[in-house]
Amino acid sequence: MSLGIDETTLTGIGGRTGVGRRRVRTRSTIAARRVHSAGVGSASPIVLAAILCGVQVFFGVAVLVANWSAHPLPLLAAAAWAVLLFAEATLAVIVSYNGERLPTGLFVFFLTALGVAVLLDLVSIWSVEDIGGYASASIGAGFALLLTIAQRRRREIVIAIAVLGVALLAAILLTTPLTAATLPSQLIALCLACLPAAIGLYVVGGFRAIVQRALDRVLVQSTIAGPRLAFGMLASEELARLDAAAEELLESVADGRRPLPLDAASASRAATIATELRLHLLDGRKQSWLYHAVSESEVLGPTVRLSDPHTLAGLLDQHQRDGLLTAVWLLSSELQRSGISISLGPVRPQPPGAPQDRRKLVPIVIEVEGSSRGGVDPATWDELSKVGTFHDSVKQQVLRVEIECWVADPAEA
């Protein structure tokens, strides 16, 4: 594929002046938008986390107050809550004034404060021989981790949860005799400390994935409005980059910075730029929207193989393109690990006796490995019917959909 060519030739001049770096920047602008998208999804989790923490604090403090007289060191337990609340308030205020970001320094401070609160809480109940029954701020610390989920890496939170769990478990094993009467509350205390943050990670992780996929989808969706053949998002930047490289070289020759005759390195650089520029100026570099959609998408890219030697996808109208793209999207999101192949053409001649309505028949075949008809989202079939009439069959775990797609004849258009 043409994309392969310039990938290899590009490495020829990467590493020297701006040429190679520029490409990286091209990629990184897309990456930057994707990272920014993480912000799109994390705007409100901290508010949610604060509400959930608030509910838990209310309960925890109420239980502590109710048990005040039975508690061996209630003031120490209250101090643990004070430390915890101070840490939570500090975090919430700074993060909301800091554009939803949680700097590492603050995160470390927060975890340290949580550690202190857990320590105070455990020390205050060390003598009662029932950690699970009396633990209060320690469980609050587990909920407090919710506040950091959207802002920090998953791994960091997992480690924090694990440390908290191990600390509680150690305290239980060291002080509490495990009997039928005490076991359930120990188990519950451990779960209440560790599960909320774990559930939070699960939900926020899934949520992020949805946002990421939705962004990928709008990126891909923007291809369907394109012309029959297009250069693609990266082409113009690459052409601009090559023009800039040529300009720089020619200018340095003109003003004598590179003396004539040129040294071998400069000469070979001139040759490389010329070769790439020629490649980029060939008409054949244009590809269909479907090619761009697949190659630019992080969802479709790894799973979809496209075979469209005559770029027939470009002939589909927008409605058909939308249907085809959405169907393929649904198939690939439903069956993430299997491969999907799409092949278009060759154009079939009009059957004899067919009305001469200036249209052509483009057969499209979609094959999905390791799939059955039942595993497919029903909406897929609606989308496919936008493309044309189709029929599907399953043979040896391969779902095969053949679509008869009628398009306007380009010669008549």
């Binding site: 109420a62 400069s266 010329a274 649904l330």
Partner: protein, 388 residues
């Protein structure tokens, strides 16, 4: 964006399964480890547990409201069975297990119930009934045991989480749509830019010629001429970069004053200088204003340039004249030299260096070329392109 709603629902369903099964397992463990549950209770609660497990498993694949209802009925059945069979109030171990069931496993369904009035009613009923049942199971003399309070708060938290999942995704949908519009605009701009650069073929031809010379270190070319040509080309490239001429706009050229400040004027001047350095004096004539789309203009100028190259190689004279004129429909260029000429009958046009690609490109934009020559009386090429 309905796709996103679907994915969100699926995430909520998966979360119900994850949380619900975890809660149910913990509740069972508490009841088993805590002892004190009558063997007859296991028989009585069995069907309820099974229903709950069935609903929690099935909900991953189905968004139907039937599964939450089945699951909640199952959980409630367990509570009611305990209420009937067990001596009250429950012992601490079993009470903890009951709280885990009613405040952890059952509220998981709230994640899919915090949506729409109908589901909210189910949510409300389930919350009230589980709080009341747990109160009846664990309450003695005091009203509101910690267990029933915890159960109520569990329901509250999961309802908030479910509501948040629903609402924040709606909010994000709007932002993602605007990002989508930005993508579309960016793609169009990028496409136009690529087309504009690719259309500037004449410019790229001269740049490629210079680069090829430089690839041979510039040997065999006068160093001053090479530097001057490199300077011209660099300037042209700079102008291509800053030019604000979009592809569909019309480029204006006054051929009588070729060196105006348009990139095109420079291009013409650059053609002249390039041939000048190679020993062919090019004279532009005519005062027609060229009002042509960029693509047509480029093909036109490229063809002219190719004809001049032909004169330089074969005509044997140091001078060529290019006259540009137009009428209502076409713009015409006449490239004339007083050179050796040739017999048209003997020379195949294809060998004249008027590269097929150039002729083809000219035809592509609706233009044509004609050639007149005779031995000893020079050569004239007429190129025509349509104005619109």
């Amino acid at each position: 964006m309905e796709l996103m709603g679907k994915e969100r629902d699926r995430l909520a369903q998966r979360s119900v399964r994850f949380v619900g099964l975890a809660g149910a397992v913990i509740a069972l463990l508490c009841m088993l480890l805590g002892g004190g549950v009558e063997p007859s209770s296991w028989v009585a609660t069995g069907p309820g547990w099974l229903l709950l497990a069935l609903a929690l498993t099935a909900i991953e694949r189905s968004g139907s409201v039937a599964w939450p209802i089945v699951g909640l009925l199952g959980g409630t059945a367990v509570l009611v069975a305990l209420l009937i069979v067990e001596p009250l109030p429950l012992g601490e171990g079993v009470a903890v297990g009951v709280a885990a069931l009613a405040g952890g496993a059952m509220p998981a369904f709230a994640l899919v119930l915090a949506a729409g009035a109908g589901r909210a009613v189910v949510l409300g009923l389930a919350t009230v009934s589980s709080v009341v049942l747990v109160e009846l199971l664990t309450g003695g003399a005091t009203l509101l045991t910690p267990y029933s309070v915890a159960v109520g708060l569990g329901w509250l938290m999961f309802a908030i989480l479910g509501y948040w999942l629903r609402v924040s995704l709606l909010r994000i949908t709007g932002r993602i749509e605007s990002i989508g519009r930005a993508y579309r605009a960016e793609r169009q701009a990028s496409e136009r830019e690529a087309q504009r650069r690719q259309n500037a073929r004449l410019l790229h031809d001269t740049v490629l010629a210079s680069l090829t010379l430089l690839a041979h270190s510039g040997h065999g070319v006068n160093a001053d001429a090479m530097r001057s040509q490199a300077g011209d080309d660099a300037r042209l490239l700079r102008q291509l970069k800053t030019s604000s001429v979009p592809d569909s706009a019309v480029t204006i050229l006054n051929a009588a004053e070729p060196v105006d400040e348009t990139p095109l004027g420079h291009t013409l001047e650059s053609v002249k200088q390039r041939f000048g350095r190679m020993g062919l004096q090019v004279n532009w004539h005519g005062s027609a204003r060229l009002l042509l789309p960029a693509e047509v203009l480029d093909a036109f100028l490229r063809a002219i340039s190719e004809c001049l190259e032909n004169v330089r190689r074969h005509a044997g004279v140091p001078e060529a004249h290019v006259t540009i004129s137009d009428d209502e429909h076409v713009v015409r260029a006449m490239i004339m030299d007083q050179g050796v000429g040739f017999d048209q009958a003997l020379v195949d046009e294809g060998r004249l260096g008027l590269k097929e690609s150039v002729v083809a490109r000219l035809q592509e934009v609706g233009g044509s070329s004609r050639l007149f020559s005779a031995p000893g009386s020079g050569t004239t090429v007429v190129l025509e392109v349509p104005k619109s």
